[in-house]
Amino acid sequence: MEFAFDLSAAVAVIATLLAISSLDPVHALLYLIVSLLAVAMVFFAIGAPFAGILEVIVYAGAIMVLFVFVVMMLNLGRAAVEQERRWLTPRVWAGPAVLALVLLAELLHVLGRMPAAAGIGEGTIGARAVGAALFGPYLLAVELGSMLLLAALVAAFHLGRNE
């Protein structure tokens, strides 16, 4: 279990790194999908199979498809890759990298101050438990989420129209 977790985590981090540094949007998306799949594996490893499978179906299978779809529609081509190459100079990376590292250091520091380690991954929380909670105490959140999706649907329809 721990091995699976570590491997997935390593894949996730590397793939994410490649995703944000890749020049070609499609390659970046592929790396991102790999990263998401790896995170899904992490979910499996820590006993949340339902979340993991949703990660694959919704994140990798729907949202990322949408991304790829849009990239394909835009059909950016070689020029876009060249432009990305010109934009991505070390000077551009330096500042954000420092900022991100500081943030990461702070987060790690916070984690370091946490009380004694607590274990995760004992047993699984299956779809049944999640569903029961989702349509029980979190019913209002479900309704809000559906409203959000409806709003997003309308907004995307409006924005995506060809005027």
Partner: protein
């Protein structure tokens, strides 16, 4: 899976933190809107990971509930964001966020 092997919560949270920082790095460093959106997805995913891990720590389904809500959010965000990407490309002929900075004060 005969014996319950556990791993420390910190590991999952550290992974979440790393992914979050990488997403932030992507947002800050990339000029292309597509990459910015992708980085946002990375950050949301990192947050979701933290929730699921915490839920797992307490043997509660709530973490995954929040994961589902984040998923909803991510889906909405991606659809609207990508529609905006299409509009930006249509209007400005580029995906450069700086070129589309017409709302500046």
């Amino acid at each position: 899976m005969t014996e319950a092997t556990t791993l420390p919560l910190e590991h999952a949270l550290i992974l979440s933190g790393i992914l979050f920082a990488l997403g932030l790095l992507g947002i800050l460093a990339r000029r292309n809107v597509l990459f910015v959106l992708m980085s946002i997805e990375i950050m949301m995913n990192a947050a979701a990971l933290a929730f699921v891990a915490a839920g797992s720590r307490w043997h509660a389904a709530d973490g995954q509930i929040l994961f589902i809500l984040i998923l909803t959010l991510a889906a909405s965000e991606a659809s609207v964001g990508l529609a905006l990407v299409l509009q930006i490309y249509r209007r400005f002929g580029t995906l450069d966020t700086d070129a589309a900075g017409e709302l500046k004060g």
